[in-house]
């Protein structure tokens, strides 16, 4: 394949203006990724503070009030600051290159949706220094704890959620516009790479639910400052309604954080198994089914809230159904590996760990779906174990795998492979040491979000805390590896990078030129993701 030379194009501006004014999808993608890495380290430090306090029974480091602020900020920062922007960064870098487009469809909006984020999170972090402290009501901010009983900083929290929402909606609009309008001639929907497909569906989920989140925080704002009673029974409102609206946003949000991960893994496993993805069509159908089901399962987060029996049954059955398309995806990945010619470079190691550990998180999710049993699991560490298994070795591992997979294309330099493998093994051991024991302490009866616990939970909490430090500190290897690539330290990467890699992004130089596909690429020589030419 020939490389694409840039014509009629400007070189990047110099200095800070390049980053402030840029409308280039690659620059913006890089900024998103670096931003999310910084947020990951901040949110991770908060997790380590939490795990330090829980290392043994008793109050050692902090008061319960500050502990609650840490759990709240850790959740908000990881969900909205680390995982989501990392996926948006990858979408920026990869979607135009994968569909053969010169840039995102709406480059100025792209710039704005990134630059909103530092302000939103600057505001969130500033609440730590306000009188009364940061938000302390959990990332789910149930009313009336988050309204009548909230610290004054809740207003800043609400505004920053608004800003994050605006950023996400604009990002989603941009992804949809790009995918629908800017595909290279000949790339029909059923020839799109899986990452593009999963992001298209994710973007529709974002469009559908971010306004719901904005609505619910606005209702909170009204209750707090303008004496309405949306969530106050004394004024005719209903605190349970808050939970219904929140989870109508919250459950699709869960899939917003995992569908792009499915896409990434669906690129990496075929590459290192040297086989096309098994069941491309069923993957697309399964992803769409999961997205549809995500809108009708929200109240499984609320089984103990006192819903009528028929409501409980409906949400139990619909939730159990999600296991079917999710299972199809896992089976397809395993079938892709089966009879392949596998090698185990770092992206593949993280992807295999993703399949195994995400499946464990999915299976505990199936257990949680059984409503009668959920009365015993709800709001315990079993739930904490479940959602960390799908978010850390799930979403986060896929992001790490994706970074190792595409960073040679982004920087033009191969990362250090033995360091990458070392990073993988420490992360793999650390993540299981941290989160597996949480299943046990949850089943044994430890509620979540408590700063101190009864003595029978002590041993496993200590193991989890040790695991957390192992996992957290081993991410510094990842950071070092990334910085080395950015500083151009390492072997130069070829355009193809990986022997088995397929797709348009591998047809351009490494590093990818500042402008790619200014003329649409010819797809004749490209194998489509379905495995046919």
């Amino acid at each position: 394949m020939t490389t694409i030379t840039s014509e009629h194009s400007s070189a990047p501006a110099t200095g800070i203006r390049r980053w402030l004014y840029t409308t280039n999808h690659k620059d913006i993608g890089s900024m998103y990724l670096i931003f999310s890495l910084v947020m990951l380290l901040i949110g991770g430090s908060m997790a380590l503070l939490i795990r330090s306090e829980l290392f043994q029974p008793g109050l050692q480091l902090m008061q319960p009030e500050f502990f609650n602020q840490m759990t709240t900020l850790h959740g908000i920062i990881m969900v909205f600051g680390a995982i989501m922007p990392a996926f948006v960064g990858m979408a920026n870098w990869l979607i135009p290159m994968m569909v053969g487009a010169p840039d995102m469809a709406l480059p100025r909006i792209n710039n704005w949706s990134f630059w909103l984020l530092p302000f939103a999170f600057g505001m969130v972090l500033s609440t730590l220094f306000m009188e009364g402290g940061a938000p302390n009501f959990g990332w789910t901010f149930y009313a009336p704890l988050s309204t009548t009983y909230a610290p004054p900083s809740v207003t800043f929290f609400i505004f920053s959620v608004h800003i994050m929402g605006i950023s996400s909606v604009m990002g989603a609009v941009n992804v949809i516009a790009t995918i629908m309008n800017m595909r290279a001639p000949g790339m029909n929907y059923m020839k799109m790479p899986m990452f593009v497909w999963t992001w298209l569906i994710t973007a529709f989920l974002l469009l559908a639910v971010m306004p719901v989140l904005a609505g619910v925080v606005t209702m909170m704002l009204m209750d707090i400052h303008f004496a309405t009673s949306f969530f106050d029974a004394a004024g005719g409102g209903d605190p349970v309604m808050f939970q219904h609206i929140f989870w109508f946003f919250g459950h699709p949000e869960v899939y917003i954080m995992i569908l792009p991960a499915f896409g990434i893994v669906s690129h990496i496993i075929p590459t290192f198994a040297r086989k096309p993805l098994f069941g491309y069509h069923s993957m697309v159908i399964a992803t769409s089914s999961i997205a549809f089901l995500s809108f009708i399962v929200w109240a499984h987060h609320m089984f103990t809230v006192g819903m009528p029996l028929v409501g409980e049954l409906f949400f139990m059955y619909s939730t159990m159904l999600i296991a079917v398309p999710t299972g199809v995806k896992v089976f397809n990945w395993v079938a892709t590996m089966f009879r392949g010619s596998m090698t185990f470079e770092t992206p593949m190691l993280f992807s295999i760990a993703f399949v195994v550990l995400f499946t464990i998180g999915g299976l505990s999710g199936l257990m949680l779906a059984i409503a009668p049993a959920d009365f015993q699991y709800h709001d315990t560490y079993f739930v904490v174990a479940h959602f960390h298994y799908v978010l850390v070795p799930g979403a986060l591992f896929s992001i790490i795998a994706g970074v190792y997979f595409w960073i040679p294309k982004w920087t033009g330099v191969m990362y250090n492979e033995s360091m990458g493998k070392f990073h993988f093994w420490l992360s793999f051991i650390g993540v299981n040491l941290t989160f597996f024991p949480m299943h046990f302490i949850g089943l044994a009866g430890m509620p979540r979000r408590i700063p101190d616990y009864a003595l029978q939970f002590a041993d496993f909490n200590m193991v989890a805390s040790i695991g957390a430090f192992l996992f957290g500190l081993s991410q510094l290897i990842f950071v070092y590896n990334i910085i080395q690539c950015m500083r151009q330290r390492g072997c130069p990467a070829s355009p193809q990078v990986w022997e088995g890699a397929e797709g348009l992004e591998w047809t351009v130089d490494s590093p990818a030129p500042y402008h790619t596909f200014q003329t649409p690429p010819n797809l004749d020589n490209l194998r489509s993701p379905t495995g046919h030419n």
């Binding site: 609650n68 959990g138 009548t148 349970v240 040297r274 049954l313 596998m342 093994w425």
Partner: protein
């Protein structure tokens, strides 16, 4: 190096399987690994469902990870494996869509049966109203006069490591919820301030207590004993400090307890005159137990959410206003109404203490009888 890594790779997955198998075999041992065994029939059904779905999950995991492990060991390029480019099979896709669906239907049937039984709160023998407060529980035995608060007894010194931790650290309260065995007890849940959740694992009852709403649940305990639980919904800084202790006793013991409880309730409201020193001594005890979580033992509070009492306008100002805020609380804030939570003697002692401790030295005091007349004047 390469061979060590390869060795490690294989081992990583065997370790994972070993952990899974260990989980299975330990699940019946008393290692605190599995769901608590229950003292109720419903609880045992739930435990059965939990074990069934768990074994199904383990079986699925063994099959899926087994095939994957086989591929990882056998189908590697370094062993000369060549990729077979098959990539589509509608038959296979239909099979692995249908089989999970059938398993799910098989699982949904017993789960539905148990859920229907859990929701049958009809024909109860005893009704108890449970109200969540920040951060204590109130139990009212309906159709009797019995009505009391149940508060954590673990001391601040134990939490801060100044004293050894007791056996039931953070799971002990001053007054147990006493219930008779083999009677259907219906619980009615509500809350005074924020949402709480009443959970006793061995009773298999967990239900949210929501301000302004009433939820129901029930339990019929078969084995006498003490069952401990905790609040399961984040309710503010004292969320970890409002445990539940249920004591299931025989019917005779329950009736006897009910009578003594009714008598004790009457005498608690009888008041006698106390000296200043007596008020201060009892005031410190009651303040540390009921007020210090927010206003702190030192009276300095956590401003601006929990104001300081040391040097405050209320503690140093008009006595009537001070009594009013303690008895009736402050609307729209975390300050709850203590008028019904505490006895007149405790209220008088706390108010006297707040006006004279930490260098406030206001010098005045109030008698329990004045609290009684204040409440009567308000029609309480």
């Amino acid at each position: 190096m390469e061979s060590i890594l390869r060795h490690l790779r294989v081992n990583g997955f065997s370790i994972r399987l070993l952990i899974l198998m260990a989980f299975t075999s330990f699940s019946h041992a008393e290692w605190g690994l599995n769901m608590t065994e229950s003292a109720t029939a419903i609880g045992r059904e739930i435990h059965g469902l939990h074990m069934t779905i768990f074994y199904i999950c383990v079986a699925i995991a063994v099959v899926v990870f087994g095939i994957m492990l086989y591929s990882i060991i056998r189908h590697r390029k370094s062993l000369g494996a060549e990729a077979k480019p098959f990539h589509e099979s509608t038959v296979v896709e239909i099979i692995w869509t249908t089989i999970p669906l059938l398993i799910l239907v098989a699982m949904a049937i017993p789960a539905t049966k148990t859920l229907v039984a859990m929701y049958d709160t009809e024909t109860s023998d005893i009704d108890i109203k449970v109200t969540g407060y920040q951060w204590k529980w109130r139990y009212e035995y309906l159709n009797t006069d019995v009505d009391f608060f149940s508060t954590l007894t673990t001391t601040q010194d134990q939490m801060h490591g100044l004293e050894p931790k007791s056996e039931n650290y953070l799971l002990e309260v001053d007054k147990h919820l006493i219930i008779p065995i083999n009677k259907k007890i219906r619980f009615l849940f509500t809350a005074q301030d924020v949402i709480h959740s009443w959970w006793v694992p061995e009773l298999a009852v967990k239900k949210d207590a929501i301000p302004g709403f009433i939820n129901e649940s029930w339990a019929k305990v078969e084995v006498p004993g003490i069952y401990r639980g905790q609040c399961a919904e984040l309710c503010g800084q004292g969320h970890g400090y409002m445990p539940i202790v249920v004591e299931a006793v025989s019917e005779e013991d329950y009736q006897a307890w009910l009578i003594t409880q009714q008598q004790a309730q009457k005498s608690a409201n009888q008041v006698s005159k106390l000296s200043f020193d007596e008020l201060m001594a009892q005031g410190k005890t009651s303040y540390d137990k009921n007020c210090a979580a927010c206003h702190q033992v030192t009276g300095t509070g956590i401003p601006p959410v929990f104001p300081a009492l040391k040097g405050s306008a209320i503690a140093l100002g008009d006595m009537q206003k001070h009594i009013d805020i303690v008895i009736n609380g402050k609307a729209g804030s975390a300050m709850s109404a203590f008028g019904e939570q505490l006895t007149p003697t405790e209220l008088a002692a706390i108010i006297t203490y707040e006006r004279n401790a930490w260098g406030n030295d206001k010098g005045d005091s109030i008698q329990p009888a004045e609290i009684v007349s204040f409440k009567q004047a308000q029609g309480q």
